[in-house]
Symmetry: C2
Subunit: 345 residues, 2 copies
C-alpha cells in the first residue's frame, strides 16, 4: 500500500507517524493547528519540505476552525497561528516560506467574506503540497545525470518521500536514476540521534526495491576509504546566498570526508529551502534539541546520570565542500553566489 | 567504591560486566576458561589490553582446572584452551601477545610437576595484569605533555581503565594530565554501534571528576569546525610496523577530520598492541560483528526487517594521519617505520 507523508482528509491534517516507523505504519489525525504544531515539534513529521507543507495545512485548518465573525479578529487569530507554526523548529526555512505564502493569501484577499478566504487558504495549502511533489520530480530529472550506471551512493538522514509531500529531494534524484533503469545501490548512515537513516530511509528505499545497506554514522569514512562510494547526496534545511548548506547533523563530516577521498558531494533542495537574506551559513540558526535524544535512545538510558551533552540537530557545510546543488530550476555550482542568483532571477 | 575491570578472586576470574554499565555495576565470575572466552566474545570485557589480561587469566584458570596427570595430556589441553582464547576476537593483537606469554611459560618449564607449572602460569597471568597498569601509568607520564592547560580533548570509544587492567591508555594520558593539575575537558563520541563512549568513557571520566561532554559520532566534525577541540587522543587494537593503527570503527573518520582542521591526532598504546610482523595496516584482520548490533540497539528494532548491514568493529587509520604514538617506552613520530623500530630495539 502506498503511504502518504501528509495529507488532508475529512477536514483533518493526517500524517504518517514517523516516530513509529519502521515497526509500525500508523497515522496521526490533527484536528487543529496546535496539534499540527506539536507534531512538527515532536517530529511526528520532519524534513524541511514536509514541515513547510504541514505548517501550511495546519494554518488552513486553523482558519477553518476559527469561530470569529469579524475580519479584524480573524486576522489577529490567524497571525497567532502563523506565529505558533513559526516557533516549532528554527532551522528549516521552508517553514517560514510556507507560512509567508499563507499570509500572502490573506493580504491579497479582498472583502468577499470569511468563507471564501478559508477556501482560498485551504487551496493554497493544497497547492503547496502538490507543487512540492512536482518540484521533487523535477529535481530528480535535473539531478539523475550525476548518478552513473553501477553507482554506489551514500546518503544521510532522510531526504525522501517522508521528508517531503512525496518523492523526495536527495532520494528523489536517486529514484529518478532508478526509474530510468540505472543499476545503483545506496548506503545510508543511521543518523543518530534520531535514527532517521535506519528507520526512514532504509524503509522507503527498501519499499521501492532499491538496494540499501545500513551503516552507523561512524563507518562512513572507512567505507569511503575502501573505494565503495561513488557519490554522496543529501538534502538541506536551509541554504544561504553563498551556497553554505545547513542539514542534519553529520552532513558536514560527510562532506569533509568526501572531499578527502575525492568523492563528489551533491545537495538536492527546492528553491523554498534557500534563504537569500543570509549571506553565509554562519547566520543560519541551528536548533539544539533535548539532550535525552542522545542519552536515552528509545527511552533506554545509555549514559551516566547528569552527563553533559551537546545535541545540535543540524550543522553547516561550507559551499567549498559542495560539488553542486540540484534544484527544480537547474543545477548550481561554484561560484554559488553567482549561480544561485542566476537560478532565482 | 573503586571498580576492578578484571581480577582474580577465590580462584575465579572476576570481571565488571561492561554490557550493563552505566546503569548497573555488576560483576561476572568466570569459573573456567570457556566462560572467560565467552565473556571476551560477547564483550562483557573489551578493550585490547583488557582482552589480553583476561585471556591470560582464563588460560591460568584453565590450567588450574585441568584434571589430567600426564604432562603430554596437559600440553594438549593447554593448547586447546589457548586456541579457544585466540579465536574469540581477531583484531586486538594483545590477545595473541598474552597467549604467547602463557605458552612461553609452558615451554620454558622443566620437569618439576604440574602443580608448580599451574602456579607459574597463574603468576604469569597476574604479572601481565600488574604490568598492564604500570605500563599505562608510564604512557600517561610520556603523553601528558601533549595536553596543555585549558585543553579540550576529543576521544572515541573507551581506551580507559575499563579497556585495560586499570588506568587506561588514551584516558591514562588524560588522567596523568588531570592529576598534575591541568585544567581540561573531554568530549566523547558515543561510539555506535555499542555505545562504549556513552556507557563506559563518560562513566569512568565522570567518576574521576573529569569534565566530560557526550556527543553522537556524527557531531565530531561540526565540533571541530567550531574550534572547540584542541587534540584528539584514542587507543588502538593493533598497530603495524609502519604505524598504521587499527582501532574502533569511527577512528579513521576522526583522524581525517582532525587533519582537515589542523588538530593533532594522538594514539596511546602499549608495546603489546604492536604487530611488527605486519608491514601495513592493510594486513590487519578487521572483525565484522553481528548485524543486530546495528539494527537492534538494546534489542529495540530500528531498521526494516532484513535490511543489509555492514558492521566492521574496527577501521584502519594510515600513519599519515597520526601525529604521534605514545607508548610506555617513549613516543614515536614520522617516520614511524624508523621510530617504532627504535622503540622496540
Amino acid at each position: 500500500m502506498k503511504y502518504e507523508t501528509v495529507t488532508w482528509r475529512n477536514d483533518k491534517v493526517v500524517m504518517l507517524d514517523q516516530r513509529r516507523l519502521p515497526t509500525e505504519e500508523a497515522y496521526v489525525e490533527c484536528d487543529g493547528p496546535a496539534q499540527v504544531a506539536e507534531a512538527i515539534r515532536n517530529m511526528t513529521i520532519r524534513g524541511a519540505p514536509a514541515i513547510g507543507v504541514a505548517a501550511a495545512m495546519g494554518i488552513a485548518l486553523g482558519a477553518m476552525r476559527l469561530r470569529v465573525k469579524s475580519k479584524g479578529r480573524f486576522r489577529e487569530e490567524f497571525e497567532g497561528i502563523c506565529r505558533m507554526m513559526m516557533e516549532t523548529r528554527p532551522t528549516a526555512v521552508n517553514l517560514s516560506w510556507a507560512v509567508q505564502r499563507m499570509k500572502d493569501v490573506l493580504s491579497g484577499y479582498g472583502e468577499e467574506g470569511l468563507d471564501g478566504l478559508r477556501r482560498a487558504l485551504k487551496s493554497e495549502a493544497m497547492a503547496i503540497r502538490e507543487a512540492d511533489i512536482e518540484v521533487n520530480r523535477q529535481m530528480g530529472q535535473n539531478g539523475k545525470r550525476y548518478i552513473q550506471n553501477g553507482s554506489a551512493i551514500l546518503t544521510h538522514c532522510n531526504a525522501g518521500a517522508l521528508a517531503t509531500a512525496g518523492y523526495g529531494t536527495a532520494l528523489g534524484v536517486i529514484r529518478a536514476a532508478h526509474e530510468e533503469g540505472k543499476d545503483l545501490e545506496v548506503y545510508v548512515c543511521e543518523t543518530r540521534p534520531q535514527f532517521q537513516g535506519a528507520r526512514l530511509t532504509a524503509w522507503e528505499l527498501d519499499r521501492d526495491g532499491i538496494l540499501v545497506t545500513l551503516i552507523t554514522d561512524s563507518m562512513s569514512g572507512y567505507l569511503m576509504s575502501k573505494g565503495l562510494i561513488h557519490l554522496v547526496i543529501v538534502g538541506a534545511d536551509r541554504i544561504s546566498a553563498n551556497g553554505d548548506v545547513a542539514n542534519k547533523i553529520g552532513t558536514y563530516s560527510l562532506a569533509v570526508l568526501a572531499k578527502a577521498h575525492g568523492i563528489p558531494f551533491y545537495v538536492a533542495a527546492p528553491l523554498s529551502t534557500f534563504d537569500l537574506s543570509l549571506g553565509t551559513g554562519d547566520e543560519i540558526p541551528i536548533e539544539e534539541r533535548d539532550t535525552r535524544e542522545v542519552t536515552h535512545p528509545f527511552g533506554r538510558k545509555i549514559a551516566p546520570e547528569g552527563v553533559r551533552v551537546w545535541n545540535p540537530a543540524f550543522d553547516v557545510t561550507p559551499h567549498e565542500y559542495v560539488t553542486a546543488i540540484i534544484t527544480e530550476r537547474g543545477v548550481a555550482q561554484e561560484p554559488f553566489a553567482t549561480s544561485l542568483r542566476g537560478l532565482f532571477s
